[in-house]
Amino acid sequence: MIAFDNVTVQFGGTQALSGVSLEVREGELCALVGPSGSGKTTLLRLVNRLVAPASGTVRVRGEDVMRQDAPALRRSIGYAMQSVGLFPHRTVAENIATVPRLLGWDRARIAERVHDLLRMLRLDAAMADRLPRALSGGQAQRVGLARALAADPDILLMDEPFGAVDPITRRELRAELRRIHAETGKTIVLVTHDPEEALELGTHIVVLRGGRIVADGPPAAVVAPGADAFTRELLGGAQPGLRRLALLPAADALDPAPAPDDAPVLPRDASLADALSLMAERGCDSLALEGASGSLRAGTLLRQAR
């Protein structure tokens, strides 16, 4: 869906990205993570030509972005950012309708789409006629996301979208994003400096450091033993082993031997970390998994983490 081929970006004398190659496949939620100044936002902004490569090519849907009209390319890709940037002189509905209106949709279709989006993002329909200054931070963020999704783009770019809201709202918005990703199957590229957020949301993790990609793969793989040390420290903190267990489904470690009758039962979609936590709490070394035959054993579980 999005392919970077040996891309280098220069800002004045400094190199923001050096020889980056990456492929983001359709339907992925790709989290770009790294310390500030690592080039993650620059990598995101290459996708809709807000930044131009000094060398190398960026292809979106198979076409080189530099051969496309920049505003038209941007209208085909959703974009949401931390500072939101809602138009203060326009109502919520008008803000959301920006791209559909530029695309020449008729009034009825726009009104219907705005209505659907307000519902999808759990915003009160009465909010449509309000000006952005009447919104809370979390509401403004939702409206920004609705504006990004308005013309139903197949690609959505998000630049630290949940950075400026309080922790509770952030958790809600993350859940919202995961739900929207699951429901719509859009290709999403998300920039975050929060490793937990990257591991929680991403189906594909890309770690950047000093303008280069140091890790690229599924969440459990980038924190696996033997993976890049910087990545393991960034994403795993002091406990990369536990982080990795949290990313692996318990169902994969099922042992054919049946569980003892009195074994505690783990929910179907639990992770290995959930299993380990339950064992630690109950002081037992085998669990049953809801709706499955066989058992989870401490020994098998720990071998999975390696």
């Binding site: 940037g85 138009f87 920006t98």
Partner: protein, 247 residues
């Protein structure tokens, strides 16, 4: 609208003072018995005065706003210092000098004064336009660009509507300055409210001087009040442009 009342009331008061009866009353109190300037001629001079002010301000507004937009675009940013210097220089030359220097080029009459007013009104408009456009929140402009609003429409639909109240303030300052300054045109033979002042000074008729000065001030306050009224009404209705892009 509320802000418009004080200048409008002041304009009315000054107009009463400029009227022959008012001026004569004041003259009598000061022991001046000179004949006042007739009301009919004063009114027709006020009309030319207003027209002349607009003839200077309207091109200054168009030029100032256009220049202000140009020097805040990526391509025109390099011209910013030059435009600032030009506008500052234009305002630092006293209008009397511009009128005097323009007479050989344009001859006596309205044109030297219109030119002086244009130069004089340019800086407030340019300054206000640049400041207003620079005050547009950068994240709003960045978001518009990132979701694919083309540059011309970012200007028309985002930047100008947000900048407009400050631009209007600049226009108001320019218009008031121009109305007050247009009196100087009388020296170059333009029939303005400066005419009774010049006549009064030549004939030692203080009543006429008071009439010309009061009438000029009345007109300036009326212009201020009118633009404040326009600004007040504008605030209620945000600009909307619904047209799709031409394909």
């Amino acid at each position: 609208m509320r802000r418009a009342w004080p200048p409008l009331l002041l304009a009315l008061l000054l107009a009463a003072l400029a009227a022959p009866q008012g001026a004569a009353l004041l003259g009598g109190a000061l022991g001046e018995a000179a004949a006042p300037f007739p009301a009919g001629r004063l009114a027709s001079l006020a009309l030319t005065h207003a027209g002349l002010s607009l003839a200077g301000v309207v091109p200054a507004a168009l030029l100032g706003i256009a220049l202000g937009i140009w020097v805040t675009r990526p391509r025109g940013r390099g011209m910013r210092p030059a435009a600032d210097a030009l506008a500052a220089a234009a305002q630092s030359v006293p209008p009397v000098v511009v009128v005097a220097l323009a007479v050989p080029a344009f001859g006596f009459g309205l044109w030297p004064t219109a030119l002086a007013l244009l130069l004089y009104a340019l800086m407030p408009v340019l300054r206000a336009t640049v400041a207003a456009l620079e005050a547009v929140p950068p994240d709003v402009r960045a978001a518009a660009e990132a979701i694919g609003v083309p540059p011309a429409r970012i200007l028309a639909e985002v930047e100008l509507p947000l900048a407009w109240p400050l631009v209007l303030d600049g226009l108001r300052v320019a218009l008031v300055l121009a109305v007050a300054t247009a009196a100087v045109g009388a020296l170059a033979g333009a029939a303005t409210l400066g005419t009774p002042i010049v006549l009064g000074l030549q004939n030692q008729n203080q009543v006429m001087v008071v009439q010309g000065a009061a009438a000029t001030a009345a007109l300036a306050f009326a212009a201020e009040g009118a633009l404040l009224a326009v600004a007040g009404r504008r605030q209620g209705s945000p600009a909307r442009l619904d047209a799709p892009l031409p394909n």
